[in-house]
């Protein structure tokens, strides 16, 4: 298994280098160091202040290739910083990016962890329920509701949730965040509920499909023939044997939970890493944006490797070689 993991890591390095190169090229395809500097120093700052800012932040160097000093270009700096995890300071306000990551991880996890856990607790039983009632009116109603839920934009859920729960019913604040354990739930209730609603449709459809497919296997028929109840078959046999596809869907996202949710954090004013990413895009903050993309890629790859490893834990037949 370790040989497999090492091989995957080696492949991943190539992918990461590609991501970093693409990020650099795409970012500077649509913007320039002048744009970044202009955003940072303000519209009214004179050209001298702009030039000085570029010099102070290393954006005055050649972009790809420095003929006189090959190791001194923006691209080389970009790779060196990312690969050594020396993220530097934000282009927007010079805040150290590590400090920003530390401050944003907590709020992000406080949103995504309950969303993830409650999502599993809600969607797997719902998937079992509709699988249990398959080919009945409950199943058909479930399909309609799930497709409806999948068809609605997340933004609409957010705006609707804020309007209904926070404005009309006045149960919880429309937006905001307070890390104090006493009141944090007040601020997370609406985003978690909205996040659950937005994700419930496709998850339930996926789990239903998995469970129904598993229900047609021989061992299930045998269990039925032996007089085992349908509900018991689903919970004790089908669910256990469906863990591989469930893990495929679930484990891959676990490392990325720390990166937060861009939409929910933005609309609900939660100062997590998703919100930092949006701020970085709006502020032309290349230093922060590349860090977020880089970390996002690393965590996604980590999630994939963990998923592969987790197969061996739930299915003894799987061997990673």
């Amino acid at each position: 298994m370790w040989a497999y993991v090492v091989r995957r890591l080696a492949y991943s390095l190539v992918i990461i280098l590609g991501v970093l190169f693409l990020l650099f090229v795409l970012f500077f395809l649509v913007t320039t160091p002048d744009d970044i500097a202009r955003k940072a120093v303000g519209e009214k700052a004179p050209p001298q202040a702009l030039e000085q800012w570029k010099k102070n932040h290393g954006y005055d160097k050649p972009r790809f290739w420095n003929r006189e000093h090959p190791a001194d270009s923006m691209l080389v700096d970009h790779f060196r910083r990312m690969l050594t995890f020396d993220f530097g300071n934000s282009d927007a306000d010079d805040t150290p990016i590590w400090r920003r990551l530390r401050s944003g991880a907590g709020p992000s996890l406080s949103l995504t962890l309950p969303l993830f856990a409650l999502g599993l607790l809600l969607t797997i039983p719902l998937g079992l329920l509709v699988a249990f009632f398959r080919e009945t009116y409950i199943d058909r109603m479930g399909v309609v509701l799930c497709v409806l839920a999948m068809s609605i934009s997340t933004v609409l859920y957010i705006i609707g949730g804020q309007y209904l729960i926070a404005r009309v019913l006045r149960w919880f604040p429309i937006s905001g965040f307070d890390p104090s354990p006493v009141v944090i739930g007040r601020f997370l209730a609406v985003p978690v509920l909205v996040g659950l609603l937005a994700g419930v449709g496709d998850s339930v459809r996926f789990y239903r499909a998995v469970f129904v497919e598993e229900s047609g296997r021989d061992y299930v028929r045998t269990a039925r023939a032996k007089g085992c109840g349908e509900a018991r078959i689903l919970v004790h046999h089908v669910l256990r044997n469906s863990l591989v596809p469930i893990l495929t869907q679930v484990v891959v996202v676990i490392p990325s939970l720390v990166m937060g949710s861009i939409l929910l954090e933005s609309f609900f004013g939660i100062p997590g890493l998703g919100s930092i990413t949006v701020d970085a895009i709006n502020a032309n903050d290349f230093a922060t944006l590349r860090t977020m993309v880089y970390l996002g890629s690393l965590l996604f790859i980590l999630g994939q490797i963990l998923t592969d490893v987790s197969y061996t834990l739930v299915d003894p037949r799987v061997r990673l070689e």
Partner: protein, 673 residues
């Protein structure tokens, strides 16, 4: 039985949660405090007063750092009053055209308590503000590493540029020098000849030329005194804060929390001179007794406020709201004390230019004020078709195009009529603005426009060289649909007189590149005043400020020797009749030459809750929170009345959920048996 207990617990939990639920986003302990709640969308870029140049930056540091001078809160036109300085200095002419200003700081001024002052190892929390601190701030403006955006403007201070160059050279030549403490670096770089510390509290500023507007810069945070201890301590190394995030100021408020992605909290600074010495009755520390007409009617001269020692509030709470809709909804719930008006709710809030009955019934007030800003369409005067090269022909073309644009209709369509038509570059509230002045080329007169076009050699808008409508290009740095719709308004207006103007929308970057190369014809731009002086608008058309050749803000590249001559005379004078005459003559040149088509001066609409008192929109980016007051009892009562939760839908939803899942549970249990 087990399942029954679980269900009971779940039901009780739901009841507890619903019983405790509230949409109040603030801690209960703050409920009765006189705290001003305001939203902010973009986080401040920096709280370094020598660098900060955006409105949100100034809304924080303007309250934390006091300046030597400040503006009278109520008077218009804007009037300077003493702040940290004991009086507003007058210019003293020196030899060679140089001018000096003598500032004297008030005695017994102290910085806000800060651990940075404990550098002496004696546990000191603060120290007195002295003239050297102002000199230190000016040195920071010249420091290339600080990169102050106002260095070029303030380089009129004698020796400032030379100091900057000396500092840069020393740092480049000697790495050990760059590692010295910042005050030692400045000391070794030598004095700035135009910044003379004449005593502990005395400071003389010498300018190389007459520049009366320098006083306005001493009412802006750029020149606010900062302690060297703060800059030396907060360097961002070894876990220490950055000075740009840890202000060490002299203002009425002290920063107590700075999480710019969530909350910025200010509280009264007990070291502020207004709190320590109310007996001074300093102009910047007591509520003014005199305002402009309308202030008394608006309740800004209430006896309960006039003459009161400032600040009237306990603190300010800025809360981050990235999206405007939730922010405005919270204002409607009473959780913000003031708000702008979002476009989505404009019709609900404003009816016929006034507050809607619904909002008025909630006790809200609407403050309207014209922002000292001008939006305009500009012609690139370097362009062979619309610029100076075409002589009279091009001038008449510009005049004709000016006569086709209806500013009033434009503001009605695109700004909800929030703006007044502009007749000249100078907006209301600035010396030189004359309300009864009418620019003969800023009315809509299509017949006259067609005549001018014919005289210009384009009868009916037809270019004789091609036999087709004259083709022009409107260059835009914005490719959004909303922007294109606005630009289409101008294109349609010019089409009425036969011109074929196409929109060349590019990215901001490409637009800047076009500007650098001078490859543009017509553009739209705006300028918001830094300070209330006509010089701050008329310099936008001064030859040395040309954009293409000098990188300045004169994007029209307008150049007129007589205008330049008048500008230099106008710039060097105080506000008097002669200055007004100069401005009129300059205005006449612009009226005829039409490098700009003046569009409008924007109007700011500010909604305030009924419990917020003394609010007056400042127009300029200046701090006003110390003058505001809040009726906390009224706020608590109305917030409570507006935010009673409606709980029955939760119970109904819980019941419905049970109905849905119970059949499944029963089936499972039955099968188990």
């Amino acid at each position: 039985m087990k399942g029954g207990r679980g269900g009971l617990c779940a039901a009780l939990s739901v009841l507890v949660v619903l019983g405790a639920c509230t949409n109040n986003p603030y801690p209960d302990v703050d409920a009765g405090k006189k705290l001003l709640y305001l939203p902010f969308d973009e986080p401040p870029k920096t709280l370094d007063p020598q660098v900060a140049y955006s409105t949100i930056d100034h809304s924080v540091i303007g309250n934390v750092y006091d300046t030597l001078l400040e503006y009278d809160y109520l008077k218009r036109p804007y009037t300077l009053i003493p702040g940290l300085a004991s009086e507003v200095p007058t210019p003293q002419p020196l030899t060679d055209g140089r001018v000096s200003y003598h500032f004297r700081l008030r005695d017994d001024l102290f910085f806000a308590d800060d651990p940075a002052f404990a550098l002496d190892g004696k546990g000191t929390k603060t120290r007195q503000v002295v003239a050297k601190d102002v000199a230190f701030s000016l040195a920071r403006i010249a420091d290339p590493e600080v990169n102050s955006p106002v260095f070029e403007t303030l380089a009129k201070i004698d020796g400032l540029r030379e100091f900057s160059e000396r500092l840069k050279k020393l740092r480049a030549e000697d790495p050990a020098f760059a590692e010295l403490r910042i005050d030692e670096q400045y000391a070794r770089a030598g004095p700035i000849s135009g910044v003379r510390v004449t005593g502990p509290l005395g400071l003389e500023i010498v300018l190389t030329e007459s520049y009366p507007q320098i006083l306005y810069w001493f009412a802006m945070p750029f020149t606010a005194p900062v302690p060297w201890e703060g800059v030396a301590t907060y360097d961002g190394r070894e876990g220490r804060d950055l000075f740009s995030e840890h202000p060490t100021g002299t203002g009425p408020w002290k920063l107590v929390e700075y999480d710019k992605r969530l909350r910025i909290a200010l509280r009264r600074n007990p070291n502020w001179y207004g709190i320590r010495h109310p007996e001074w009755r300093a102009p910047g520390a007591i509520y003014p007794e005199v305002g402009e007409s309308g202030d008394a009617a608006a309740g800004r001269l209430a006896p309960s406020a006039v003459g009161q020692a400032l600040p009237l509030l306990e603190g300010i709470e800025f809360r981050r709201e990235k999206e405007s809709i939730p922010a405005f909804a919270k204002f409607l719930q009473g959780y913000y004390d003031a708000s702008g008006i979002i476009k989505e709710s404009f019709d609900r809030v404003i009816r016929n230019g006034e507050l809607s009955p619904e909002m008025a019934a909630r006790g809200m007030s609407l403050s309207k004020s014209v922002v000292p800003a001008t939006y305009y369409l500009g012609f690139n005067m370097d362009d062979p078709v619309v610029g100076r090269e075409g002589g009279d022909q091009s001038r008449k073309l510009r005049e004709a195009m000016s006569l086709a644009i209806d500013s009033k209709e434009y503001t009605r369509l695109f700004t909800n009529s929030r703006g007044i038509p502009a007749e000249s570059p100078i907006p209301p509230g600035i010396f030189g603005y004359e309300e009864d002045y009418r620019n003969p080329y800023r009315e809509v007169d299509l017949e006259r426009a067609r005549t001018l076009l014919r005289d210009a050699g384009y009868p009916g808008g037809i270019d004789p060289k091609t036999g087709a409508p004259l083709k022009l290009s409107f260059d835009s740095p914005d490719t959004s649909a909303a922007a294109l719709l606005q630009f289409q308004f101008f294109v349609d207006a010019w089409r009425k007189i036969g011109l074929d103007v196409s929109i060349a929308a590019t990215s901001y970057n490409q637009f800047q590149d076009k500007i650098r190369r001078g490859a543009y014809q017509i553009f739209q731009w705006g300028w918001v005043a830094d300070y209330p002086d006509p010089e701050n608008f008329l310099f936008l058309l001064w030859t040395p400020m040309g954009r293409t050749h000098g990188g300045g803000p004169n994007t029209a590249n307008f150049s007129d020797p007589r205008y330049d001559e008048l500008f230099l005379q106008m710039k060097a004078r105080g506000n008097d009749e002669k200055r007004l005459e100069l401005i009129r003559e300059m205005r006449g040149i612009l009226e005829k030459e039409r490098p700009w088509i003046e569009l409008f001066h924007p109007e700011s609409y500010l909604l305030t809750q009924g419990w917020l008192h003394n609010e007056k929109p400042p127009g300029l980016s200046i701090p006003t929170a110390k003058y505001l007051d809040i009726d906390t009892a009224q706020r608590a009562e109305l917030r409570n009345a507006w935010n009673q939760p409606i709980r029955w839908p939760a119970y109904a939803a819980a019941g419905l959920t049970l109905l849905v899942i119970l059949p499944g549970i029963f089936t499972y249990l039955r099968e188990r048996q």
